[in-house]
Subunit: 128 residues, 6 copies
């Protein structure tokens, strides 16, 4: 995995587009000395292998990841990173709130309540 | 909750639009004698209270529910019902598959693999 | 663990009291040749070690286990066994339904909907 | 949902009775500017729609929510709020501990261990 | 992903070694018409990208997957496939049972109880 | 459970061997005044009842617990305690990382990413 492939370069470009700011860099920095291969997996698999696929636009994909992180409950840094990415891609704050609210009958109200509290933190870093 | 409100009538209309076929009716029939109030909660809260809100279109909401059910892993009848509803609302089979595939790095490959197997079952009941 | 202790005898008595019928025996029979030690753990730890503790009555404990199984989503044979045990201990069907309904805002509506469907199956084996 | 209904007023009264102190207010304040509708859903659905139903007393309902939050593992602010509410309703500390301990064989020992650590934090704010 | 890479060929060889029998083929067949790309992801990422890495032997990796599937609770076809693969790699039935039993205090006894019941089914297809 | 049995003494010895340092003591201290019986259950059941069983070596058992905690997502203090115990038992840092990486396709990449971040914290307390 060490020789940089074309997939890696394209995946990295997408990672920077979506998570170029604080949240994404923090994720990568946290992991690069404990397990640099996992950064590669994120870039090649999660970004270029899945996120970059045709068939759904990037913002819909970010909404789906917000839904999944809200449902998992414990994926807090990822939830914040994907809320941030959705806003960067042009989502309104109201749309992000609706995505999380939609989880109420599935992930449960406790998961939604906590996700909304994290959402508030991310919103404070975005003017809009 | 027993007097039928306007919210109830509108919610029921939406339930029939989304789940009018086999899957939705089955859910309601399964529950109506063990707990009719839960059918009311589904109609008034999940349908009229959440699903009918402005801010996101119905198909995006169905995609989010497919993402959540895939992540939960055990919400099998609901996963099938929402795949069915997404197709009824005009989603292509490829879009539904992409929604589930997007969960690979969050819900994990086992959850995605099982969700795709259930997807196949629902697809067989839709011509397209 | 092989010499039968006093704890084991008392735990087995409690297991028979709570799950003496079909559901409990089935659980034990399923496991006794693949892992008899797990049956012992169930008897000594789950029954005599936890269930038999003072401080809460048996029916409240069964309600708590129904709540936990509903929340887990995948603990289906256990959910059925504890609904059956609650009814044996004198719970009304309405109380069991209320316990599960109480989970709606925490375990989510999908988990509650599925738990109610399993509840219906157990209710059909109880006259009341 | 914006016109205050009778359900809303009764639900708010119950919310204040159960969570009138620090934990409950904090939950509401966290959410009221990011999503005021979710506060309404909590008041009208979780409080007046479920918690206020007949068939189980309020303390049993709080115990069930403690069981569910312990099982979820990630619902930490909610776990603390419901432990606080149970004590306000007259539960002894020993009863709360028993409720959590009862989860050992279902939610697992790690979830119970963490829940007991949070319990300790809440207990320190109650004299008894 | 459609041109077959060297990674794909090596990953497929490993998939056949581990899951050559009924369980593995069934998984692949279930998915190949609904989403052939997911089969490729399984081969290239899960097999060649992770399973084939140095640092842990294949049997330890299978034990870890059995642990994870037991903890997830809903990953039933995967649990069976990995129990089957562990036995093919030379694990004794007692070792597989110990792996699952080790989960009792983490995944909980209900998850362990169900996993042991599935284990029994797989054991019946292996002479030993 | 209050009279100290031979099982208790042996279990305590094992607890000290595995978690003698900061993480283990902290777990015990957190719980001993809120629920001393849970410390006993940990010592007698989790340690002497499961961990000390024959059939798998201690390090393999620690790896399985790391896998389970990574999959649960919310069992953070336990994840750290078991990474620490694995290193004490002679595991290399690379082995611990491989155990967590093996979870990518099952627990999902978000759970793995967070587990690796916690791993880094524990590694900083071990020279190697």
């Amino acid at each position: 995995m060490k020789q940089r492939t074309d997939n890696y370069e394209k995946g990295l470009e997408l990672l920077n587009k979506l998570h170029g700011g604080q949240a994404g860099e923090q994720l990568v920095n946290n992991l690069k000395d404990v397990c640099p291969d996992f950064v590669d997996m994120t870039v090649e698999w999660a970004m270029q292998g899945i996120m970059a696929r045709p068939g759904l636009d990037l913002l819909t994909r970010e909404f789906l990841l917000i839904a999944s992180c809200t449902t998992l409950g414990h994926a807090v840094p990822q939830l914040k990173a994907h809320i941030d990415a959705a806003l960067k891609l042009g989502a309104t704050k109201q749309q992000v709130v609706e995505v999380i609210l939609q989880m109420t009958f599935y992930a449960g109200g406790a998961a939604v309540s906590n996700a909304l509290a994290y959402t508030k933190e991310v919103f404070q870093t975005h003017a809009q």
